[in-house]
């Protein structure tokens, strides 16, 4: 049966009615029309549905909506605000450095997996603003529950974009207090 749940998504509280076991992916996409995270495999094996919950990457296709109440959910739609709210001196319309790097490096081909790829980059750079090549590869390959897969094969562009975003993030000091950059 449907319960009322309050979810904080991209800085705003939303009241929704959903069966508590409903995966966050379906709630975000169909109830809140937040379509950045996408259905790839439904079993946490590809990463297309990745989002941040309290700053940590989770696979929204297997995460019950009820488990995320009282936590801060961030999708790619919320990355600009996440960035500008923690960096007072940047233009309030600026994209997150990870998004800007994804544009500058022309990363997406079909682009279906890239929302999840950017989420991993944001999490990685929040914990390690200057990752080595090996650390970037490790974050996308060996971190549970599965590697982030790209069938178009954009891995080289992703690596370049993470390195570019790393430079931007390292150059601009943080002013806010949120859990991730």
């Amino acid at each position: 049966m449907a319960d009322q749940l309050i979810l904080n998504v991209n800085g705003q509280d939303h009241k929704i009615l959903a069966a508590p076991e409903t995966p966050l992916l379906y709630v975000l996409r169909n109830e809140l029309h937040c379509t950045g995270p996408r259905y790839g495999c439904g079993v946490a094996q590809c990463g297309a549905c990745a989002i941040l919950v309290d700053g940590a990457e989770v696979r929204s296709c297997i995460t019950p909506a009820s488990s995320a109440t009282g936590k801060k959910i961030i999708t790619i739609e919320g990355l600009p605000v996440l960035w500008t709210s923690n960096h007072a001196e940047v233009d309030s319309n600026a994209l997150h450095p990870v998004q800007q790097a994804w544009i500058d490096e022309q990363v997406p081909q079909c682009g279906y997996c890239q929302s999840g790829m950017m989420i991993t980059a944001v999490e990685l750079l929040a914990n390690n603003p200057a990752p080595s090549l090996a650390q970037i590869k490790d974050a996308y390959t060996n971190k549970p529950p599965s590697p982030h897969l790209c069938r178009c094969g954009t891995y080289a562009a992703i690596i370049r974009a993470v390195q570019l975003a790393s430079k931007t993030i390292s150059a601009i000091p943080r002013t806010g207090g949120s859990t991730s950059s």
């Binding site: 959903a18 069966a19 409903t22 995966p23 379906y26 996409r29 169909n30 937040c34 379509t35 950045g36 996408r38 259905y39 790839g40 495999c41 439904g42 079993v43 094996q45 590809c46 297309a48 999708t75 790619i76 739609e77 600009p80 994209l95 998004q99 994804w102 544009i103 022309q106 990363v107 997406p108 081909q109 079909c110 682009g111 279906y112 997996c113 890239q114 929302s115 950017m118 970037i136 590869k137 490790d138 996308y140 390959t141 060996n142 599965s146 590697p147 982030h148 897969l149 790209c150 069938r151 178009c152 094969g153 954009t154 891995y155 080289a156 562009a157 992703i158 690596i159």
Partner: protein
């Protein structure tokens, strides 16, 4: 799929250019609209029938508006390779405008003029180049009238026509007018046709005729620059509307309940407890079973319950993937689908030779494996009109198939295109997505239906690129020159684009012929005799009770990916037999100057040291790891490709790591160096994935590799350092620049495996278990 090359010189046609028709003056607005006529140019004037000034033809090629904006329409779609950037570049070049004033509409069957293959970029580019060239001439004519200056004295810069110190913009030329330009075309729209090879005709779409004066390649300003791909900012910020994002009023979500085996038929459909699932409905049509619900999660939850209680007949008509090669070997092949070359001379040269190299190469079934399982929305209305939202790569082909399956006139069907996960040729012939399921369910329920396949649905029930075997042999003379080469390729068909939902529902569908084709483009003109033949057979399990079977379809670099692997692997083995460096061996067998130049450039970039294989000192350090290098080349669609792989083999685990891959391409005139580089880098990832990992497994009834944990693809950590070489030419037209990068990897990696180990690997993928088995000492008899 055939390449249509633009003329590299701009020799103008002797035919008259199409003339503008003015359909009256307007109080406001104004545009020049370029559409088409299906007959020769000389008759076009008669077609300029007046219409009301406001009614724009929906499917014009180009609309040039009085605000300076230009709308360009093409039936092709963006398949992830940057075409949505290339088409505006090509139009901008001919019209002398900036690409950013151009908006591109792609794919939609009611809003684009020409249809055609999305993968057929070359023919799409040729169409738009000619349309733009005709438009440019018409605009010069208008400007000449307005400025009273002869056309020959006019130049255009950034949409401003200039002559004799006076100027007028394109926008001013069309202001307060409605001007029509009709360009000549040939071709036909896609229709289901049992006589054609894959059951559907007209997939090429329309071709623009004539030979208008075009800008000389060496004067290009826009083509050849790295224009960004237009859709990327929206994809990165979450603004793109994907196929999976379509929500219609009154829409139901569906999940499919597929049979337990590929050939099973329905005994009884499962049921639901209405107290628990009051809003959910089970829909059955013959062997098509679905669950529909107002919310997606209800559909997902209910589908698990229904699937568990649905009963299917047993079926075990597949040979198993372990026995695939044996099955292909034992099949009673009849005459070849296609043969090329002189069999008698080739056979006699082979028989006369003292030194011969022969081998059989093989590969299992592989999958297109999109990252997102397929999805579609369909709305079949009471008046018989149908709208389908799809990410097919041939929308007019899909439209014809949907109309055929629903027994509806094709004119009543509209297919709209939206982005979705890359699919690498799976929908080049139209269908093979969830569109058929959605349209059938919507026709039954008379409501908009969204069908989302699961990953397992997609892996188990979509078409695959079939497994194959090839016997190939060549003879060497005393100077180690190849005197003759003979090949025989055997595979199940690769052209079964039937809509799987329609097969299961017993509704009208395509009928294809189980033929294969010679895909090799021959790079070795200095081999005097050759004979190639290819054999096709029906899908495995094609005689099953439900009629589905292991459907085969083309996949990226189709046919040539497979046949070139065998050809290049044999050349590598022959180079070993000759005791020659494999690049030097290639150079001895071709006089293609483009290929020769690219071989040298790629070898230099890879720091290639000339020597024969195997590697005399494969252990670079004290450990057990073995180092090897190998190469491969290919010519395809007016392009040359070279790949050089460096690998490390760990004998105890069987793991191969590709440490460096150098890829060289000469696709004639490079349209966009950066987008080409992206395609080359990513194509190498896909090619290494195929060489090392990819294999569809199946038991006697069904595909068993239905998760990413069982159908493995390359991960980021497994990607090598990749080096790129590009050669652009002004005198060779355009060549295929995005597709083929994957196909040069497997033979280069297999050669590197031999270089490291001294063992010829004649099967891909080179999985750890296969490698360990190859390295095991052979029993001495």
């Amino acid at each position: 799929m055939k390449a249509v090359l633009p003329t590299s010189s701009s020799a103008p046609s002797m035919e008259p250019l199409p003339q503008l028709t003015r359909r009256g003056f307007l109080q406001s607005g104004g545009a020049l609209v370029v559409s088409f006529a299906m007959h020769p140019l000389s008759a076009q004037a008669a077609t300029a029938t007046p219409s009301t000034a406001q009614s724009m033809p929906a499917a014009s090629w180009i609309e040039l508006r009085d605000d300076g904006k230009i709308i360009v329409r093409t039936g092709r779609t963006e398949i992830g390779t940057g075409m949505s950037g290339f088409y505006p570049q090509i139009v901008a070049e001919e019209l002398c405008v900036r690409p950013d004033v151009i908006s591109l509409i792609m794919g939609d069957t009611d809003r684009t003029p020409d249809g055609g293959y999305s993968a057929g970029f070359l023919s799409g580019a040729d169409n738009l180049r000619k349309v733009s060239a005709y438009t440019y001439q018409a605009l010069l004519g208008l400007a000449s009238e307005k400025l009273l200056i002869p056309v020959e004295q006019l130049t255009v810069n950034d949409g401003i026509v200039i002559g004799n110190g006076r100027q007028v913009s394109y926008a001013d030329l069309v202001r307060n007018q409605r001007l029509d330009l009709t360009v000549p075309v040939s071709g036909k729209f896609a229709r289901v046709d049992p006589k054609s090879w894959n059951g559907i005709d007209g997939l090429d779409g329309l071709t623009v005729l004539g030979n208008p004066p075009t800008r000389p390649v060496n004067k290009f300003k826009v083509v050849g620059t790295s224009n960004p791909m237009p859709g990327i900012p929206d994809k990165v910020t979450g603004r793109t509307q994907w196929t999976c994002d379509v929500i219609l009023p009154n829409m139901l979500h569906a999940r499919m309940i597929r049979p337990t085996a590929l050939g099973s038929t329905l005994i009884t459909a499962g049921t639901l407890d209405k107290a628990i699932y009051p809003n959910v409905q089970v829909v059955v049509k013959k062997n098509l079973v679905a669950v529909v619900a107002p919310t997606e999660w209800e559909a997902v939850s209910a589908s698990l319950v229904v699937a568990a209680s649905t009963k299917w007949t047993e079926w075990a008509g597949l040979p198993t993937s372990a026995k695939l090669s044996e099955t292909l070997r034992n099949y009673k092949w009849e005459k070849p689908s296609e043969a090329k070359g002189d069999l008698e001379q080739t056979t006699s040269a082979l028989n006369a030779a003292t030194k011969k190299v022969s081998a059989t190469y093989e590969q299992p079934f592989v999958k297109h494996a999109p990252i997102g399982a397929f999805v579609a929305v369909a709305d079949v209305r009471d008046d018989g009109t149908v709208t389908v939202w799809s990410h097919s790569a041939n929308l007019q082909g899909l439209r014809a198939q949907i109309a055929n399956t629903l027994s509806t006139p094709v004119e009543k069907v509209v297919v709209r295109w939206l982005d979705h996960a890359g699919q690498f040729g799976r929908t080049t012939f139209g269908g093979d997505g969830a569109e058929g399921d959605a349209a059938i369910l919507s026709q039954i329920l008379r409501r908009p239906i969204r069908v989302q396949w699961t990953l397992q649905d997609d892996f188990a029930w979509s078409a695959s690129s079939p497994g194959w075997i090839e016997d190939i042999a060549c003879s060497l003379d005393a100077n180690n020159h190849i005197t003759a080469l003979k090949s025989s390729f055997y595979s199940p068909q690769s052209n079964d684009a039937r809509i799987v939902g329609a097969v299961l529902a017993g509704m009208p569908n395509l009928r294809s012929k189980p033929d294969y084709w010679i895909a090799t483009e021959w790079p070795y003109d200095r081999i005097p005799h050759r004979h190639e033949e290819v054999f096709g057979m029906p899908n495995l399990g094609s005689d099953s009770p439900n009629g589905v079977g292991m459907r085969g379809l083309i996949m990226r670099t189709p046919g040539q990916r497979q046949q070139n692997f065998a050809l290049e692997s044999l050349l590598n083995e022959a180079a070993v037999e000759a005791g020659m460096d494999p690049i030097a061996f290639r150079l001895a067998h071709t006089s293609d100057q483009r290929l020769i130049e690219l071989l040298h450039a790629t070898a230099t970039k890879a720091e290639w040291q000339s020597r024969p294989s195997p590697n005399p000192s494969p252990k670079a350090d004290e450990g057990e790891q073995l180092h090897g290098r190998g190469m491969c080349l290919m010519t395809r669609q007016n392009s040359c490709w070279v790949g050089i792989a460096e690998i490390v083999v760990t004998p105890s685990t069987g793991v191969i790591q590709v440490t460096k891959f150098t890829i060289g391409a000469d696709p004639g005139k490079i349209i966009n160096p950066r987008q080409l580089e992206r395609c080359m880098l990513s194509g190498v990832v896909m090619g290494i994935s195929e060489a090392l990992k990819e294999e569809v497994t199946f038991d006697t009834g069904k595909i068993t590799s239905t998760f990413w944990s069982s159908y493995k693809i390359l991960t980021m950590a497994e990607m090598p350092e990749i080096r790129v070489v590009q050669i652009s030419r002004d005198d060779k037209g355009y060549g295929g620049g995005s597709e083929a990068a994957n196909a040069i990897c497997p033979a280069a990696i297999a050669a590197a495996f031999h270089d490291a180990t001294g063992i010829h690997a004649r099967r891909i993928p080179l999985t750890p278990s296969y490698v360990v088995q190859q390295l095991r000492p052979k029993a001495v008899l």
